[in-house]
Symmetry: C2
Subunit: 390 residues, 2 copies
């Protein structure tokens, strides 16, 4: 059994004074997310300091709040977008198209044409089909091919949805040049919240081999896109950002020597995850039978109103309560909807204070990424997650 006493004080302390003040003064009755944009800035500066050679493309999908985009724009960040909608939002905030990557490998031709017309010149692909669309409506653009890597150790594991086999990627990059595109580089993703740092070395080794193969076809790749995978702090300890940066730096130097290519990183969670906290309310505490050793605790936020990443109990958020420090007991945690799939943690071993009561406010930490935009438009009549940036 995990004793929460000492740990919880540390967790409480992780909220910035600004966040603590906001939470203390909040009169909100519905659950909400609040993001301290200064923490986003700190995370950005830290990443720049640790990986000075890498260009940062913020993965907007993690949290597209205008205040976050504006702050990162002013800091000089670039932006990784998934759709015409995200590009439009960037442009509307004064982000110039030369700082935008259309990083989704799945794009409608008309959306590529629209983005090209707006001035976007950097595109991802992972298939012949997509390459042909790009050649037709985005001629001359820089393109990079996403390679399928086997990933282990990621909390939110990647499937085979993105990327293609390295030898196919090499052929496609040769073909890109033949089609009038600029074969710029290779991207890969070691998995969101990747905790096994050796994965970076294995992946960079493969990419470096591809650079060599392509040179033999007179194609000079100039860029490695290392994707995301930078951690936020959830319930388990993760290696610190320094260790990540060192793993990446070592891998790049080991496999590319002094001839380092451009490097792109696409942090989303790593910039905004820790910067946000959700406040929710305990709606119900119950047991299913007499003598149950585990309580069921129901919150007013669930899988369909912001906490989608608890799918398969993948992301294990830390939870702060007003009673931390006192004795705890095991709980199952669920959301408020009538959907039996709306359970946050039933298999994971969560403990909460025995003193927890209906009406208590709890804080769900490191929820700045992948929460607001995941929330449903109104499943079960519950409104989407409110969001504040301070």
């Amino acid at each position: 059994m995990r004793r929460s006493s000492s740990k919880s004080r540390i967790e409480q302390g992780q909220l910035t004074p600004k966040l603590q003040k906001f939470l203390a003064e909040s009169k909100d009755r519905d659950p909400f997310l609040v993001v301290d944009v200064d923490v986003v800035e700190q995370n950005y500066r830290e990443l720049r300091r640790l990986l000075p050679h890498a260009r940062v493309y913020y993965a907007i999908k993690a949290n597209p709040a205008p205040e976050i985009l504006r702050r990162l724009r002013s800091l000089g960040s670039n932006f990784d977008t998934a759709s015409a909608g995200e590009i439009e939002q960037c442009l509307s905030l004064g982000i110039t198209p030369d700082r935008i990557s259309f990083g989704n490998t799945i794009k409608k031709k008309r959306d590529i044409a629209w983005a090209f017309d707006k001035g976007v010149r950097l595109y991802a692909f992972d298939s012949l089909c997509e390459l042909e669309k790009l050649a037709e409506v985005a001629p001359g653009s820089q393109v990079f091919c996403r390679v399928l890597m086997e990933c282990e150790g990621a909390e939110w594991p990647l499937s085979r949805k993105f990327g293609c086999a390295p030898h196919m990627a090499a052929d496609l990059l040769v073909k890109a040049r033949a089609l009038g595109l600029d074969p710029y580089g290779i991207s890969f993703h070691v998995g969101s919240q990747q905790t096994d740092l050796n994965q970076w070395d294995k992946a960079v080794a493969q990419v470096s081999q591809m650079f060599t193969v392509l040179q033999q076809h007179d194609v000079e790749l100039r860029m490695v896109n290392l994707g995301g995978g930078f951690p936020a702090r959830y319930r388990s300890d993760v290696p610190m950002l320094e260790a990540y940066a060192q793993a990446i730096g070592n891998a790049m130097t080991k496999h590319f020597g002094n001839n380092l290519p451009d490097m792109i990183i696409e942090p989303g969670r790593g910039l905004v995850g820790d910067a946000g906290v959700i406040q929710a309310e305990v709606v119900l505490i119950s047991e299913k039978d007499y003598g149950d050793d585990r309580r069921w605790v129901y919150l007013d936020i669930g899988k369909f109103s912001g906490l989608a990443e608890t799918m398969d109990e993948a992301i294990k958020y830390r939870i702060v309560t007003p009673h931390d420090g006192g004795p705890t007991g095991p709980v199952a945690l669920a959301g408020p909807s009538c959907d039996s799939a709306d359970i946050l943690y039933e298999k994971t071993d969560y403990h909460l204070p025995l003193a927890l009561r209906v009406g208590d406010k709890v804080q769900i930490l490191s929820t700045g990424a992948y929460t607001t935009t995941y929330s449903s438009v109104g499943f079960n009549g519950f409104p989407p997650l409110k969001s504040y940036c301070i």
Copy 2:
């Protein structure tokens, strides 16, 4: 290998002429759902005909479109709601509070108080904690206790989130009377899309025993709430509605004899599932390596924009393409977002025509329930699922 030729013609024929005309004339470029409200009416009338003794409470969460609620209101339906938001919508459409059940077992006290103030007098609960809230702010109301049943055979399996052990439920119903509430009955749920009809008999037998036990405490229960679990037609064949009705009727007669209690059913999917069809577009078709025997087909709708029930590949929708009848090959199906979890079917054996091309429109059948409201507010910058009622 499944040959789709003959099957697909049947599937095409299942779209009503109204739906076919709408799809043929549509100029929409984004994915959308269209629901034929006349089919909802047919389903309602059929259910009333087959289970004339049961009061229908439409589970609004399945699809809260105003046109559907208005039609069901005019047909005399009652409404099962999950939240204050859903109750407010009902009231705004002229549905009187005596036709509304607040059927969620997880309610904030202030929401119960609000509903009581509006005139709602029928409430679900499954715990002492919830019962005490009801006694305090909804005195004298009819309450029913949800019992935890072991369910097998449901496509969307239920967890232990809802309900409590039968002997605990009996104690709580005795307590309800002591607290000044009206212990009206018992509810259970055999699982959404339940295909094993014996589950009804097992459940009704247990409920009938509880009626007897409570009589010994001078509590006369008067109602059995059979929940939902009525099927829509997805990829696998399901017993027809007649068989369901017969299973329920037989079980009730066998276990209650001539002394039938009030019966409530809460169909959602069973009323609107088959009434709707989603039209989507093929965005990309690719392979991951040379010689792959399976194509990846990417649509412009995915798990986060309406098809949430493909979670764990639980609901297997039928898909109609312009090339049905021709030779097919195996596919994995995925949505358009940059999220690796946004895969519809990777393990399920899906086949689509080899002639399928990027830009083709496909129809996803029986998508009238649990699609629009599940869709995210804008994950990856994609807009929520559009919806039409005709």
